[in-house]
Every structure is written in C-alpha cells, then in structure tokens.
C-alpha cells in the first residue's frame, strides 16, 4: 500500500531493534479475549476505482453545477475566485497542525491574524477569534460569554424568532446542563416585544441581521434599551456578504457579533466545513473562547504572531475553562482571509449590490404573478418570503423538473407561514435564470 512505505526487510530490522519477533507481539497488553477482531469492511481499492465510485456518488446529486439554485436559508452559493482554492491547496497550509510552535507556524498565524483583522473591519468590533465550528455554535458560545459577563447571576437569554431556527436549537443543546432560561423565540415577537422582555435577570438579547427571512429589522433604540437593562446585545449575521453594503453591527451598538462565514469564500459542501465568526468589543475579549492570534516580536525584535491569552483555553485551564473548544475551522478562516483580500472594500460592496439588485428584480417579477405575494414589509438583502398559491413542496416539484432548486419551505419551522418559501438570489443567478424561474412559477397550479 502506497501510504505505508515499509519493505519486508525494514520490518524485520525494526522488529529486531525492538526485540520482538512479530508485529502481533506489540499488542500483548490488549485483552486476549478481544484482540484482533475481524473487520467486516470491503476489500482495498485502487485510487482509480475509488475516484470512479466517488464521482458517481457526486453525480447522483442535484447540485448548483447542474441546477439553477434559489435556496439559501443559512448556506449560500456565492462566487469564489479561483485563487482561493489554489491557496487552500497549499500543503503548507492544509497539512499543518494548530500553530502551537510559532517559530514554524508564522504562515498560519499571520494569515489568521489578517482574518481576525478583516472580520473586525466587517463587523465593526475590536477583536475577533480564529473561528468556531459554524454560525450556530458561535451563537451558543456567545451565550456563555454573556452569562460570564453577567457574573452567573443573569440567567435569561432573549432570542428573536427571526434567528435561524437551527441556531436556536443549538443554543438549547449547548446549555441543557445549566440553569439558563431561553425565551422570546417561540412565537412571533417583534423587536419592541423583545425589548419588553428585558429585565435585571437578562444576560443578553440576540437578533439576526439580516434576519433569517432576509429582512433588515428596525433596530432603532434597541442597543440603548438592552444596555440600559445591563444586558449584552448580540447580533447574528445571517449572511456577512450583506455587510459589504450595510452598516456594521458595531455601528448599531452590538457587543458581540457572531455569524456564518461560509458565504465569504467557502463552498456549500452539503453543510460543512463552514466557519463561525465571533467578534466582540474590547472589554469582552478575555471572556471569549477559542484561539486568538496576537502580534508580538521575536528575540531579535522582528514582528511575529502567536496564539495569545492562552490561559483561557481547555488544555491549560481544564475543568475551569468555559468552553472545551480545541480544533476550530482554521483552514476556512484562511479561505475567508484570501476571499476578503481579493474582494477588497470595493469588490465586496459590488458583490453585495449585485445580490441586492438581483433579489429585488426577482421579487418584483414574482410580485406581479397571479396567486403569489412577496413580503415587502421590511427592506431585504438577498432573500425574501414568497407566499405561493400551492404548498411549497408542490411548487418546488414543478421547479426541479425544469432545472431549478426553489426556495426553502418555511412552514415546518414557522407554522404560521403556510405555503411560504424563502427565496434566495445571489450574484450567481443570471437575469435569464430569474426570468425562467418566474415563468415556471407562473405555470404552477
């Protein structure tokens, strides 16, 4: 086997050096009753045959290479410049370990520091960590920070129902062992309704920006009220491409900004690996989990980078750590750093505007169709709610037959949104595709 390089002669020399006769002798401490079980697995396969099999599995999927994709709902099909993948394929990046040894890890460290810098710029925060698993776990870890900031006395967490339903589930999973009370998201509470829930027991209030429905809520007075109550304002960024255009969460008064970084240079990949970004105001930086890269100098005075504030982490603090996070999504953070470097301030703005214009064009076309209505109550970015003349599953069946992957059916998570789909339009959707989609929708009975 090509990945195991030993020759028979070498094996014998090595066994002799160890002082045993066979490799089996090395496993004598394993209980004999359970030693060397049979593995019922397929026979080995050549690289050629494996690739053929996997290509067939890949081809059996309805993917954005073959279909016009109009679905988002937490994962977005955006343009990724070729240079991003070429950098990710550098073995020096992707086959390196966590940069615990900074003298031989400056590549990962500086690239990650640049990622942190760009996420600060995008969110309007002072510091960002080197990533969490995804947007959902970032939010769950923000809850931990808010509980810490409330010195363990404030136990109430207010969540908007317009935060991605999966993120809210993850918050509940993460905190099932504590005495945290998660409120606000079971009905259809508006932002003023959420403000009314604030009290002296509230650790944080979280809203989504843009929200899960693609809309930009009215945050007027929100930060002021949250801070008056002594709580933290957490903003969940559903799609950070929007921040190329929209005011930063920092400008809106957020204390912690979390979200899904996937739209910034990471492919859909059936749900992962993505990356959760996590940015905070300076006063909370010592309370956050995960790796943080800081600038310093080496003994010759040369600028260099290193993992810092290490005593917060599990390998040092053990059972006193607030999170067990170790492995993060480091390579995806580098993808995002390369993506944002290529886009730059003008490119990201342009991508965001393309999304905005195309989504609004599609919304206007659909609004004119008989039986359809588009929710225009709030400004939206690149997703919007469409109420259909038939169940969403039926509409999507008609669409898939014509080569379109339609919107996300909102009725499962939000029973009041019957026959309502969340449609997403990105820079990847051409006008011709949008027009053709509208034509098919027109035909649905």
């Amino acid at each position: 086997m090509s990945y195991i390089p030993h020759t028979e002669a070498e094996r014998q020399q090595m066994l002799a050096a160890i002082g045993v006769t066979t490799i089996e002798d090395l496993f004598e401490a394993v209980p004999a009753t359970h030693r060397f079980p049979k593995l019922t697995l397929p026979a080995p396969m050549s690289e050629m045959d494996v690739m053929t099999e996997m290509a067939a599995l890949a081809d059996a999927n309805e993917h954005a290479g073959d279909f016009a994709l109009f679905r988002g709902a937490g994962a977005y099909h955006h343009f990724i410049p070729s240079a991003v993948n070429h950098i990710l394929l550098r073995g020096e990046f992707y086959t390196a370990y966590t940069p615990y040894q900074p003298e031989v890890s400056q590549g990962t460290l500086q690239a990650t520091y640049e990622y942190q810098s760009m996420m600060c710029a995008l969110t309007g925060m002072d510091a960002a960590n080197a990533s969490h698993y995804d947007g959902a776990t970032s939010l769950a870890e923000a809850v931990t920070v808010a509980l810490e900031a409330g010195r363990g006395k404030r136990k109430k967490i207010i969540l908007s129902h317009a935060i991605n339903p999966q993120y809210r589930e993850v918050v509940r999973t993460y905190h099932q062992g504590g005495d945290v009370k998660v409120v606000g998201d079971r009905g259809q509470a508006s932002i003023p309704d959420l403000i009314d829930m604030l009290d002296e027991n509230t650790a944080m209030l979280a809203v989504s920006y843009p929200n899960f429905f693609g809309q930009i809520d009215d945050f007027n007075e929100l930060a002021e009220k949250v801070h008056e109550a002594g709580a933290l304002l957490v903003m969940v960024v559903n799609n950070p491409v929007a921040l190329g255009l929209l005011k930063s969460p920092g400008e809106l008064g957020a204390d912690i900004v979390v979200g899904e970084g996937q739209p910034l240079g990471v492919p859909l990949s059936f749900g992962g690996p993505y990356l959760g970004f996590f940015a905070v105001r300076e006063k909370y930086v010592r309370k956050i989990a995960g790796r943080i890269i800081g600038e310093t100098t080496d003994i010759d005075g040369k600028r260099a980078f290193v993992m810092t504030l290490r005593p917060r982490e599990q390998d040092i603090r053990r059972d006193k750590a607030t999170s067990n996070i170790c492995t993060n999504q480091g390579l995806m953070a580098i993808a995002t750093a390369v993506y944002l470097s290529l886009m730059g301030k003008n490119g990201l703005r342009k991508v965001a505007e393309l999304n905005y214009h195309k989504a609004h064009y599609a919304a206007q076309q659909i609004q004119h169709l008989d039986g359809y209505s588009v929710n225009m109550e709030r400004p939206f970015f690149n997703e919007f709610m469409v109420t259909c003349p038939a169940p969403v599953s039926r509409v999507n069946e008609a669409l898939i037959a014509q080569g379109f992957i339609g919107g996300y059916d909102l009725s499962a998570d939000y029973p009041h949104l019957k026959d309502t789909m969340l449609l997403c339009v990105t820079e990847m959707n051409s006008r011709a595709e949008i027009d053709a989609l509208v034509d098919v929708l027109q035909e649905v009975e």
Partner: protein, 507 residues
Amino acid sequence: MKTATIEATTNQYDGLEPLIYELSAAGRIGVNLPEPDVPLSDLPADLLRDDLNLPEVSENEVVRHFVRLSQFNHAIDTGFYPLGSCTMKYNPKINEDAARLTGFAHLHPLTDVEGAQGALALMYQLQEWLAEISGFAGVSLTPAAGAQGEFAGILMIRKYHVDRGDTQRTKILVPDSAHGTNPATVTMAGMQVIELPSDKEGNVDLEALREACAGEKAASIAGMMITVPSTLGLFDRNILPIVQTVHDAGGLMYMDGANMNALMGVVKPGELGFDVMHYNLHKTFSTPHGGGGPGSGVIGVAQRLMDYRPGPIVDIIEEAAGDHDAPLYGWTQPPKTIGRLKAFHGNYGMHVRAYAYIRVYGGTGLNDVTRHAVLNANYLRARLKDHYKLPYPRICGHEFVMEGRFADSDVRALDISKRLMDYGIHPPTNYFPLIVPEALLIEPTETETKQTLDRFVDVMISIAGEARENPDILHDAPHNTPVRRLDEVKAAKQLVLCCAPLMKQVD
C-alpha cells in the same frame, strides 16, 4: 535594523512578510466581477455603511502574499511531524480531489433528500463502516470536532441518567493523564470532575477507581472518560476491570478515541464494553488538520444510547424495491436526542475524505495502518531508550512519552523542541501529559519511512550530546527558522489582535 541599501533578504517591513493591509493601495482591485444584468433598485440609504476597511490588493499580490506566508509553515507535506496525540499522518491527495467534486462541493445542505441520494449514500456507508471499526451499534456524523464529540457523549450520558430519574449522577471520573478537553467538557455539560491518579505503570490506579466508586459514592457516578490507549501511549492492562467497576457503580463509559490509530483491527471499543466514544477523522482517517481545523468528531454509541444520538442521522427510509433499485436514504432524528449540535449535518467535506481513505485501504489495510503505526513508535522508543529517560519502559501503542531533561544539564523539553526545528523536524507534543515532567510525546505515524525515523533518532541523540557539551545552542534555539523565540508575555500584555491601528494610519 534599517540599513541604507536594500539587501536581498530584507524588506522594508518589520516582519517576515508585510501585512495584507500594508500592500493596499486605494482603488486597486483584486477580482473581476460582472456588471448587473438587471435593472437597478434603490438602495436603502439610511441602512448603508460609509466605509469598509478591507485591503485593496491585486490578485497577483494576494497570491504571492499567501504563498509566501505558507512557506513559513512546517507541514506534513514539508517534513516529519511527530506530534504526539495528533496523528500527523500523510494526507492522501485523492481526498482533496474527491471533496472538490462539483456534486459534493456545490451541493446545498437543504437539498430535498431525493436530490441528495449520492451524498446521503456516502454518509450512510461511512456510518456503517465507522460502527464496524469501533464495534458500536451506531454512530452520529454530526460533531464538528473531537471536543464536540466529547460534549455530545457527555450530554448523552447525562440525559440517559436524567431520563431514568437518576438525577443525582453528576460526577464524571477523569484520569490525571487526560486531554484538557475531557475535564472542560464535563464542566461545559454542567457536571463535575473527579480526577483519578495513574499508577507506576501508567495505568489508571485501579484501587483509587474502586474507592471512588465505593459504597454511597456509586450513586453519584455518571460515568468515566478514558483515552485508549492512554495519552501516555499505553494500553491499560486493566481496561476490562475498569469498565466493569464503573458499570457496576451504574456509570457509563466514555472513550476518548483520539488514539484510534492504535486500535483498528486490534480491538473494538464497543466490544470492551464502552458506551460511547468519539473518533477524530482528522487524526485516524487522514483528513487534513488545516492549521487548526476543520476536524470531524464522529461518535459511536452502544445500543442503550442509540436513541440519544445528536441528529440528523442518515437512514434508509424506503427499502430498495427490486434487485437493481437503490434504497431511498433520508434523515432521521433519534427519539430521545440530546438535540442539534450544529447547523446542518456535520463537516461533510471531512466525511467525503474519510470515505475515500477507508475505501482505499479496506479492512485489512486499516489493520495494517495500525500495525505499522505501532511498529514505528516502538522502533523509535527502542532506539532512544538509552539516550532519554522513559518514565514507562514498556511496549507502547502508536506513541510514547520521554522526559526531555538530563541529570547533568539544565536543558529542558522546550529547548529540545526548539532545537529540533533547526533540523527541519517539528517538535513532539511537549509538557503533555501533565503527569510526566518535561514530557515529550512522540507519535511518528505509519506513513513515515525507516530512513526518516533513523534520521530523527540521529538528531535526537545529537541533541542529547549538545545538552551536555553546548547547552546554549539549545537555550538559544531555534536558529534557522523564519522567526526565533517569541515574546509571548508582550503578546498577552499589549494585546494587538488586529490591524486596526495600522488601518487608521493608512487612512
């Protein structure tokens, strides 16, 4: 130091490589984007930002910048990486190509199941294989990393007891040699750690374990977390009595599977009596470490925890109709699930890579992986045992621990680690496990040649000589790396975490 002339090896910046912001010039564009092909809509003026402080760099400069940065890294693809407990084995290139197939890379996670049958079939097959290798009733592919797998496992143990009305079971036993993630996980799940000592052989102190589970104390034991082979690289000879003792007390057994590279085809944790364990696909199954992630922390569980798994799980929701038809795969949620761990269903790109890896090796091949990983580790141990102190002088698993100190020198494990860099070798894990003074934890993996191992031995012997004859060369090491030892105190004190001050300067 600034000099008037520009030398070939220096730049005008303070560091190795300018920051991407230092390469920026207002108005420069790094990407070629299309113009809108739809009529423009009015932008919501009161919602727009004024400025966005991202760098403005050409594509060529972006590529050069990140390629140059990459060259300051040590990586598996550039050299030997004997980093204990991390399993830095070769990452086959087919894995990367497979994960980038359009049908996987551009597949939306919320695709209707009928349109994702290829992706789901792969996950289903991987679930079956990983259950077989570990001897468990079933697995969940959703955890994003080993630590998240641990968290899931401990939450499952907690919920199992709570559902049985055993709410007083809140204590988890953890050996003192454990990974830091183990005790941190217990706290995160709202439970408490009881630390257990190790005996002279590196096994769990069985007497201490029996004492911790004795009498009335048994009723508070929720379970135990243990790494097999241990973080010292040793198979615990008492593993069966340990499992028995905890089960007798009513607790459940969690196995930290970070070291599964020592166990494939050697023993199945499920058959030893474990109730739940996590794999690290980025260790055992060659998915890349990515400079710190992404990983994948798939968990395997025994029958009594099947209903508690974090979902979604891939299952056959409609059997194949005839001989040639494929079944219909779909999502299921176990009835008593601890809940969702992350959005969607795990780090799918890592599932694809692990699938490719298992497919290439097959069952016999995976056993060969383990056999050679253990052979390589024992070869290094045997060849170094006269030059460094081995606190546990016995046959090891896939890794072993030495003391990086000498009676007649003030050199420490840190100095030895830094000196190895001068020879182009990544240091072993140092100062872990915590119970060994000046620990150096060495894991060569199966993909290294005898030549590489022999050179490592020669270098280590040479360093042991330097420690006595010329210790300063070790204290001052590394000498040949892109940067030298860093001022970590300054990093924590001045706390410069982003280029913000610089950005203001540029403005």
